[in-house]
Symmetry: C2
Subunit: 282 residues, 2 copies
C-alpha cells in the first residue's frame, strides 16, 4: 500500500517535476496528478515520467488528493494554496515549495476563503538555475534540507504530516517561523542571486572569453528565470534590502582597504571567508 492515495502537484516545473519523479520511483503514491495552465507543459511532464495524470482544471485536479503541493511561482502560491485548502477533503493537507515564506503564510492566514489549518509552508533548498520538468530528477531532494514553516496557528499534526512527506522523499526537515526563514534565506540565497546577477550585468560581453572558472561559478545562478526571481525579491524586499546594505558596506570597506594598501586587513577578510566557505564543503 503506498503512503498516499493521490498526490496533486500544482505547477510541474523543476521542483514539482522532481517531487513527482521521486514519489513514483519510491512508490509512495497510488497516483500523482499534475495540474497546470498549459496542456503542452503537462504533456512534457507526463513524457518525463514526473506525473501519472494531468489536468488544466484546478478544482477537479486537487479535489481527490491527500496531499497538494503548490509549486507555482511565488507570486501565485498564496492564491493557489487558498483555493486548494477550500477544495480538498477535511483530512487532506496543502503545502508549497516557494522560496519566500512570510508573505505567503500571512496571506493564507488572513484569507477569508482559505482553510488555513490545512496548510503549512515548505521550502526545499534544492533549486538550481534550470527550470522546467525536463531538468527534473528523482534524487533532487535526496539529502537536501526542506524548511517547514509553521506559525503559532498551525496545528501540530499538520506540520508533522508535511514533515513526514518530505522525509519520505529523502529530505531532512528543519522547522522555523516564516520570518526566520526569510531572514536567513535573504543571506543564503536571495542576496547571492542578486550579486551574481549584478556581476554578470557588469561584465562587458566581449570579455567573456577571458572568464574562467571563478566567474562561471560566481555568476551561474544569474542564468535563472528573471520573472521568478523578481517575484522572490518583491516578496522578501525588506530582508534582502537590509542584507544587501551589509554587503555594500563590506565591499566599501574592502575598497578603502585596497586604496589604502591595507593588505593585512584584506588578507584577514579572505581568511575569514575561506573558513566559512570551507565549513560548507564541496
Amino acid at each position: 500500500m503506498p503512503a498516499y492515495r493521490t498526490v496533486a502537484i500544482v505547477g510541474v516545473g523543476l521542483i514539482g517535476g522532481s517531487i513527482g519523479l521521486a514519489l513514483r520511483q519510491r512508490k509512495l503514491a497510488g497516483s500523482v496528478i499534475g495540474i497546470g495552465r498549459r496542456q503542452t507543459s503537462l504533456d512534457k511532464a507526463i513524457a518525463c515520467g514526473a506525473i501519472d495524470h494531468s489536468t488544466t482544471d484546478f478544482e477537479s485536479g486537487v479535489a481527490g488528493a491527500d496531499i497538494v503541493i503548490v509549486a507555482t511561482p511565488v507570486d501565485s502560491v498564496a492564491d493557489d494554496v487558498c483555493r486548494a485548502t477550500a477544495i480538498v477533503d477535511e483530512a487532506a493537507l496543502v503545502t508549497d515549495v516557494g522560496s519566500t515564506k512570510g508573505a505567503i503564510c500571512s496571506a493564507v492566514e488572513s484569507s477569508p476563503t482559505a482553510v488555513a489549518e490545512r496548510f503549512v509552508g515548505s521550502h526545499p533548498l534544492a533549486g538550481n538555475h534550470r527550470s522546467g520538468p525536463e531538468h527534473a530528477t528523482a534524487d533532487l531532494l535526496e539529502g537536501k534540507t526542506v524548511v517547514v514553516t509553521p506559525t503559532p496557528k498551525t496545528p501540530g499534526p499538520t506540520t508533522e504530516r508535511i514533515a513526514q512527506f518530505w522525509e519520505a522523499l529523502g529530505a531532512q526537515v528543519q522547522r522555523m517561523s516564516p520570518e526566520q526563514h526569510d531572514q536567513a534565506l535573504a543571506v543564503t540565497s536571495h542576496l547571492p542571486h542578486l550579486v551574481a546577477s549584478a556581476l554578470a550585468a557588469c561584465t562587458p560581453p566581449e570579455w567573456l572569453p577571458l572568464a574562467a572558472t571563478g566567474w562561471a561559478d560566481t555568476t551561474r545562478i544569474a542564468a535563472a528565470d528573471p520573472e521568478l526571481w523578481t517575484a522572490i525579491f518583491s516578496q522578501n524586499k525588506q530582508a534582502v534590502s537590509e542584507t544587501l546594505a551589509g554587503l555594500i558596506e563590506q565591499l566599501t570597506k574592502l575598497q578603502t582597504e585596497l586604496n589604502e594598501e591595507n593588505w593585512t586587513q584584506i588578507h584577514d577578510t579572505l581568511q575569514q571567508a575561506k573558513r566559512i566557505r570551507d565549513a560548507l564543503g564541496n
Copy 2:
C-alpha cells in the same frame, strides 16, 4: 624527438603540476624538472608524475632548460623570471603563469639584471579554488585560454614560441598587452573573487545548513588561498578598485530599486545578466 629537450617548472603547484603532467603525457619534453623551495613539495610532485626530476637549487635547475615556466605566487614571479632570464642559454625562453601581468612585465623590463627579450608573460585561465600538485590534472589546460602579453619591446619570435608552447598543451592563445589583460581580468576574475569572499564573510556560519546550490556556487572561489589572492589584489589594485566601484554602484542602484519597488527595472537587470551569463554556457 620531443619538441623540448628540457622544460623547467619553477613552483610545482596546481598549475605548474598540471603543465608537467600534460608535457609528460603528450611526450613533449625529453625531461621535466621541477624547482621549488621545499623538497617535500617536490617529492609530492614526483609522486604525482608531474615532473621527472627536482631540485631546490634554482640556478642549476633552470640552467639547462629550453623553456622555463615560472609558476610561483604573483609576488615572487618577477624576481624568479629576472633570475631565470639571466641564467638560461641564449636561445632559451622564460614565461610565467601569474594572474596579473602589468606589474610583472614592467618589473622584468626595468630590471638591470634581467634579459627581458627572453621573456613574455602568460596567464592560463585555468585555475580553480584548489592548490597543490595533488590536484593537478594533465587536461587542466585543454581547450582553455592562455593570455600571452607581449609589450612593444618583446621580440616577435619570443611571443610566437611561447604561444606555440601553450598550443602544444591544447590551449588557445589570446595575445593582448599586460595592461589590457589586467583591466579585463579585474572584471572577469579578480572582482568575482573579492565578491565571493565578501559574500561568504557576510554569512553567519549558523545559517550554512540553509545554503543551497546558489550560495555554494557563488562563494566557491572564496575557498582559494588567501595569501595568493592578497598578492593578486595588491598587483592589480587600481583596476580592481575601479571595477569594484562600478559594482558597488550597480548594487546601490538595485537597492534603491528594491526600496522603491521598481520591479520592472530589477527584472530588466536580471534579464540583462541572464543574457550575458547564457552567452558563456555551463
